[in-house]
Symmetry: C2
Subunit: 238 residues, 2 copies
DNA sequence: CGTCTAGTTGAATTCCGTCAAAGCGGGTGG
DNA sequence: CCACCCGCTTTGACGGAATTCAACTAGACG
């Protein structure tokens, strides 16, 4: 089955939920059609890899739905998550030989993918696209550097509080059960929270328990968090 | 005194030592002249700030000589260095409202600076420049993410060993006393090494002492390091 | 020669990691 | 429908690595 015909995908693009937030925003209809002709939608199930660390960089894309993690392994087999990728975020390494980190779906996900060399060529000829990509990359670099402060200078409590606030912010309306409550669904399990924050699963668990006992959050289920006392949570985040 | 006349700077650019490594490489003579007309050279003494964290982003530039650090402070007054900037590296935050971290000269330095809005406008009209900047930003993002693995998952010994190897690599010929020895000059003091690695000055000092005692490095002076046993140092870095 | 800053070293403490065991919950098969 | 199982999470006890606090030392500079 081949979905890469311009016709089919042009329609997909029109209906695309991230159409005006992703890097393809601002392209004119003709450019969109052209971009369509080189890309295709790909569905990932939770746990499926899109990119493997160290592989040749063959794919780039845009996340349409779901969440992915970017991660890098250490020599002793542990892992550090170096980025979380949300809908409308760009993924992959254009203009480079190898992918310096793996990308794995955390939830079922939908990604609009391109062969890197097709994308590179297209980008070179469409400065507006490159400009969007540049802005996005600069923003991502800022975010990554803020994260470095977290990894380098914060204790376990500050790290977890910060992450919960970030989830609450970035998942926003999309994954929140409804707009009235302060409850949201965690996109990742305890082990991966640990891998994001540079801690162990036991430390995460203990910090959750402490926050629960202190009445700052409630944990209706393993994958849900309710913020009971936002000001305190913010102060814990430092 | 005004150095911003096209004439003067056009000549400066021709003689620029980083001319073919920085983002201005690949521009044609006409573009260079134009770029000159909006930029100027600025000399910094060690310790001088080029950008303040949180300030409005007014400046961007290229480092010509010397080294700078990018850093972000924590609420309790400690600091995390989020990037080291070497000659030919780009510095500052184009297309953004505020500078998310401070930039301070570690050594006396020479920087080719532009008003951000002038640079933004120029970049928008010169896709080749934006492309260079994009490549550079992508590379910087990769480097930053590798650093996250270091901050999140390595112990003090691995962190310091990794940093020494990076210095040895990146300072290369430029700051190395001479090409035959394994000695190089540290661009930063103990406190700032600690701020790079997310550790304290005491821990850095102890790790240096351990490596010295183990015969892996020698420390001819506070600011010099000699690598005596590179294979072991590499294995310490993990 | 004294002062000042940067770095080193030591002792006590704290936080987090490690190891181990038990608890929970969702799914499957009897 | 229930019992069992498996993976994930929680909790506890302990040890170790890094921080903290504090005293001391080495150079640099007047």
């Amino acid at each position: 089955m081949n979905f890469s015909g311009p016709q089919f995908l042009a329609e997909t693009c029109q209906a695309c939920t991230i159409r005006n937030r992703a890097i393809c925003a601002d392209l004119d209809p003709q450019e969109i059609t052209l971009l369509n002709s080189i890309g295709r939608q790909r569905e990932l199930v939770a746990g499926e890899h899109l990119l493997w660390e160290g592989d040749e960089a063959v794919l780039v894309g845009n996340v349409v739905e779901g969440m992915l993690k970017l991660s890098s392994g250490t020599s002793d087999g542990r892992e550090q998550i170096v980025g979380l990728v949300y809908p409308s975020d760009f993924i992959g390494r254009p203009f480079g030989a190898t992918t310096p980190y793996g990308a794995e779906a955390l939830t079922d996900a939908k990604v609009c993918v391109f062969q890197r060399k097709d994308f590179d060529a297209f980008a070179q000829e469409h400065p507006r696209l490159e400009h969007k990509l540049l802005e996005r990359t600069l923003t991502e670099l800022d975010r990554t550097r803020r994260w470095m402060v977290l990894l380098g200078r914060m204790d376990a409590e500050q790290k977890l509080a910060s992450l919960l606030l970030e989830f609450d912010d970035r998942l926003g309306a999309s994954l929140r059960a409804n707009t009235e409550t302060e409850t949201f669904e965690l996109p990742i399990g305890r082990q991966q929270i640990a891998d994001v924050l540079g801690l162990t699963i036991e430390t995460i668990s203990r910090q959750f328990s402490r926050m629960k006992k202190a009445g700052v959050v409630a944990l209706p289920s393993r994958r849900e968090v309710t913020i009971l006392d936002r000001p305190t949570l913010k102060s814990l985040a430092g």
